[in-house]
Assembly symmetry: C2
Homo-oligomer: 165 residues x 2
């Protein structure tokens, strides 16, 4: 589908309005950073999800692999906190990763209630590989970024994320 943008500028809101390809006026939604952030995130995630799916995992499972990759030995609850999900959601997720042979539950040394999580050998190469593929797919979006804009974006996003913590 060809993109056809007629862009205007609203002197009242100080916001660029666009009647988009479907000729619908998004002025109010476009005035909100949160809404554009959501749409941009969805665009990235479509790409990201496809890359994960090709390799047989979901974005959520990749998040767990990425955390355990850099932090071997964390408990399930610690990983849950790291990715800001509930520990109850971890059970099925770790089950899946175990069945895929990517992760191992080992009894924790000091606490018989908890497991320590480790990637298997296969899990390590799988995770590194998937990370490379995701980065390669992400590079597509850098076509629209000028020199230095990516670093600027990463930095600004980090400031936003850290604001209320």
């Amino acid at each position: 589908m060809p993109k056809l943008m007629k862009t205007a500028f609203d002197p009242i809101s100080g916001v660029s309005m666009s009647r988009e390809r479907n000729d619908i006026d998004y002025t109010m939604l476009n005035s909100l950073v949160g809404y554009r952030l959501r749409r941009a995130q969805l665009a990235y995630f479509e790409n990201f999800t496809a890359t994960c799916t090709e390799q047989g995992v979901t974005p959520g499972l990749f998040g767990i692999l990425a955390i355990v990759y850099h932090n071997p030995g964390l408990t399930q609850t610690a990983v849950a906190q790291a990715i800001e999900t509930d520990r109850s959601a971890m059970v099925a997720a770790v089950d899946k990763l175990e069945k895929l042979g990517l992760i191992e539950r080992r009894p924790a040394e000091n606490d018989r209630r908890s497991y320590a999580l480790f990637l298997t050998g296969h899990g390590i190469t799988f995770t590194e590989n998937l990370h490379r593929k995701v980065l390669k797919h992400e590079a597509h979006f850098e076509e629209v970024m000028k020199d230095g804009e990516k670093d600027w974006l990463l930095d600004l996003l980090t400031r936003i994320i850290d604001l209320d913590r």
Copy 2:
């Protein structure tokens, strides 16, 4: 909770690493624009959702109101396409907005299969009010933005959104 960031720089990936407040290494996830985009979007949405909830609607319902506000007379299916959801999901949503007295289904003039959607008088003031409140809450995030950064961010996000369309 105080924020305590120890920031380092990974000469291999060229990515700033941070052992975050919980002392967990997010290097791999932080190297992905998509992941930071998601976290930043979640931060914005927490704020946005709270503002909507105070007024008795959800972010999804606000999206419908915002579209119909600027595009009165659209059919349900057209609005569904505008916010990129399925028309089947519109039914319950418009039902709710109707019960709240914010929106009206009127028989379409040329096509007896479809309804044209319009905001009621109350719906118009409600939507303008909510929009103002959301903008006010969003202003909180501008604390972390330098001069001109907000416009630059909006512009870059728009380029990302429009890339594959």
